[in-house]
Amino acid sequence: MTFQESFEPDILGFLCNWCSYASADLAGVSRMQYPPNVKIIRVMCSARVDPTIILEAFIQGLNGVMVLGCHLGTCHYMTGNYYTERRMKTTKNVLKNVGLSPKRLLVDWVSAAEGERFATLVKDFTERIRKLGPLGKETDLEPQQLRIRLVAAKEALAQQRIRWLVGRERELVEDKNVFGEKVSQEEFDQLTLQTVEKEFAKRRILLSMKEEALSVKEIAQRVEASPREVLRNIVSLERDGLVSFVGIEGNSPKYRRAGG
């Protein structure tokens, strides 16, 4: 038997109390059979699922995560699943930055009456993850490299910049910002992508520095980026008070993590 054939994915499912968890109960009452790979955590609303917890699941080595809520417009809490949709869209972008397939995160909507649909979603998602293989198979990263990237991604998602942006999406896209300007969906998505990339890169830099003072050149080698890009991010980290300048080494400035 090859490794491919023996791989049984471990999948986590976050289900909201009112719709998707009820659909899973209905699938049970209807005795619909589906593979046992998915283990469920009940939350009151899919909007309770903090993106950092999704990343934690991958850090812990789980192969896939599904977040299922009520259909849009029927959320028990009126607007919860819209927040889920936006937050998970960004989480998928973060996964892409890590090098993982965003297909490892499934976001979908199931009503309390859709037991069969729930069973189908579980079946299909289990198959999808089975095909994708163990976590990181889609990258050429070493397990330790992948782990560091996932930690960086989780820390980026815990940062206020991304959270603030994602939280304001509706307001910025549908209403107007404080300057009376409206942002188009494309512009907003572009902005989020850039922010995700930048915050992820910054977190990788921080993680790579550990407790030592390093030159920009050295950091650039560790995070596999150009010194120019690293410098830009270092300056931003310095502004946030997360690193401090310690001197010049050769012609490359040297930094150390602040407070460490």
Binding site: Y21, I41, V43, D50, G73, H76, M78, Y83
Partner: protein, 557 residues
């Protein structure tokens, strides 16, 4: 005392779980988990014997966490929580694990893998249970005054019902008189009483009731607060009135669709039933050939629903025309006659006996109104008929009031895809909103006839009087807690919360978010988005959720 002592009860549920999983094995496994000091399998954990075992085990083993692995929390959590409470354990220290609906029933052919999954689920449940914290429900006072929005038959009935129980009522009506849609109607099916008489009787009772204050030509401008303590602003012309209310009833009714551009509608020779009612009321009807067309603008792609009251209305008006003018010919072109209930089916029979002709058409071949005649393909006869007419009457559906979405936003309650107000649960809570303290009755919710509107109004009054009679309501302890040192007062949580349950206020430490426990529904959307991660969602903390994730990872590799 701080030692966490978990008891795990694994249920066979007869053979529902026991027949497909190794239940004694699961209990044994549970006992091996950290902090678990007691584990046992029961035939039926929810039976008297099972519940007694939980109680005894709590006392004998000094359990301070209880985990039941059985069916679904959606049906059985309240029961097990109450048993914990009886045994002196805070009910929020109870954790449910679903190994039936989401395990034994859905993996019936894979005993081994299903048992492994159940182990993982129990491990996850125990991991969370260890971190559970006792929570207390708090109580707030309820102002014994009801705001009833809408002075039609539903609103008036509801106001009277509440006032007769001794509660103060503010009845807000946007028109200059009470009565609503009834003011436009002539006679009411199926007993043919005069609509105007019903309005007069009700209006008189409302106006003479000392507990009711009627505010006509008024509209609700703003509603702030939560169950028991609403601050209401009503605009009355130039003036504004402010008052406090404990509960709110939405009885704003509906409108009937104006069939602009349909079937040659002109309001004179082609009219709606509403317009026909006025003609009948004013004795202006002068037509010997009347053709009524049902389902105009309803049960189509744009409006998929059946408005329900139009078929009996057409029957009533057809009968009234025949009674007034026995020689008149009345044709009713229908898709399906919807007349459920004994009275209404008899009504249909009566209409047939009266000599009214019913012609079935299909939506694919709709009738065509031409100059002086209606062409219709009779589905049953299988041929086209040409019916000359003096008057065509169109049965148009009730549609949501144009201001319903606006009001819904002010009250923070939902409307459905058609703009009608959406109840909390179609069967279990038909006149409540999901938001505590707000109720709905009459056509604001869905097309209803007078009898149904009155029943719903009594229902809403009864539901609304519960918190007012008790005088206090319990608030959900599943609420967010703000770490004020972390909170930057950015206001994103306030923006996120659909219930206005979290608001930024000036404090000694600067702008800080504050939770209004009575408004909070416990979804946790605020916490998962907080830029400072300053919000902890009680009972669903990050720590608890992550503990479950880690517990799962531990068994998978």
């Amino acid at each position: 005392m701080n030692e966490v002592r978990v008891g795990v009860f694994v249920c066979h549920c007869g053979t529902n779980i026991g027949g497909f999983l190794d239940v004694p094995g699961l209990a044994k496994y549970a006992l091996s988990l950290p902090n678990v000091v007691f584990a046992k399998d029961n035939q039926y954990t929810c039976s008297e014997a099972g519940l007694t075992e939980i109680k005894n085990a709590i006392a004998e083993n000094k359990l301070n966490r209880v985990v039941v692995a059985s069916c679904t929390p959606r049906t059985h959590e309240p029961l097990f929580r109450s048993i914990c409470k009886d045994a002196g354990l805070n009910p929020y220290l109870f954790q449910f694990v679903n190994i039936r609906d989401q395990c034994s029933w859905v993996h019936m052919q894979e005993r081994e893998r299903a048992t492994e999954k159940a182990k993982a689920l129990i491990r996850m449940g125990v991991a969370r249970a260890v971190l559970l914290e006792p929570l207390e429900e708090t109580e707030i006072e309820v102002n014994p005054c009801a705001l009833v929005i809408g002075g039609g038959i539903a609103g008036m009935t509801c106001a009277l019902s509440l006032a007769n129980r001794g509660f103060e009522v503010k009845l807000v009506e946007k028109e200059d008189r009470l009565g609503g849609t009834l003011n436009s109607l002539y006679k009411l099916y199926p007993a043919n009483e005069e609509a105007s008489k019903l309005v007069q009787d009700k209006t008189k009772k409302v106006k003479n009731n000392p507990n009711i204050e009627v505010l006509t030509s008024s509209e609700v401008k703003e509603v702030e607060g939560f169950i028991g303590n609403y601050d209401v602003t009503v605009r009355q012309g130039e003036k504004e009135r402010l008052f406090k209310a404990g509960v709110i009833i939405v009885a704003t009714g509906a409108e009937t669709l104006k069939p602009m551009g349909m079937y040659g509608y002109d309001g004179e020779n082609v009219v709606t039933h509403m317009e026909l009612e006025r003609m009948l009321k004013e004795g202006r009807l002068n037509a010997d050939m009347v053709v009524m067309i049902q389902c105009v603008g309803s049960r189509n792609e744009k409006r998929v629903y059946c408005s329900k009251v139009c078929c009996p209305t057409a029957l009533k008006n057809a009968i009234l025309i025949k009674e007034a003018k026995p020689n008149a010919q009345v044709f009713v072109l229908y898709r399906d006659m919807v007349t459920p209930g004994t009275k209404y089916e008899d009504y249909y029979g009566k209409a047939r006996e009266t000599g009214i002709t019913f012609i079935k058409y299909s939506p694919e071949r709709k009738p065509v109104v031409e100059n002086g005649s209606v062409r219709v393909y009779d589905e049953l006869l299988g041929e086209e008929l040409v019916l000359p007419y003096d008057l065509v009457v169109l049965s148009t559906p009730m549609v949501a009031h144009r201001n319903s979405t606006d009001l819904a936003q002010k009250l923070k309650v939902p409307v459905d895809e058609n703009g009608f107000f959406l109840e909390a649960h179609v069967k279990l809570r038909p006149v409540d909103f999901a938001t505590d303290g707000i109720y709905v009755c009459g056509c604001a919710h869905w097309p209803a006839n007078i009898g149904e509107s009155i029943s719903q109004a009594y229902g809403a009054a009864s539901r609304a009087s519960i918190p007012m009679s008790v005088g206090r309501v319990k608030t959900e302890p599943l609420i967010p807690v703000i770490d004020e040192d972390e909170c930057s007062g950015c206001g994103l949580c306030e923006l996120t919360c659909p219930f206005k349950a979290i608001q930024v206020e000036e404090t000694e430490k600067g702008r800080k978010a504050k939770v209004i426990a009575a408004s909070c529904k416990g979804c946790g959307a605020c916490g998962a988005g907080c830029p400072q991660r300053a919000i902890t969602m009680r009972h669903f903390t990050d720590e608890q959720l992550v503990a479950q994730v880690i517990a799962l990872a531990e068994v998978t590799h």
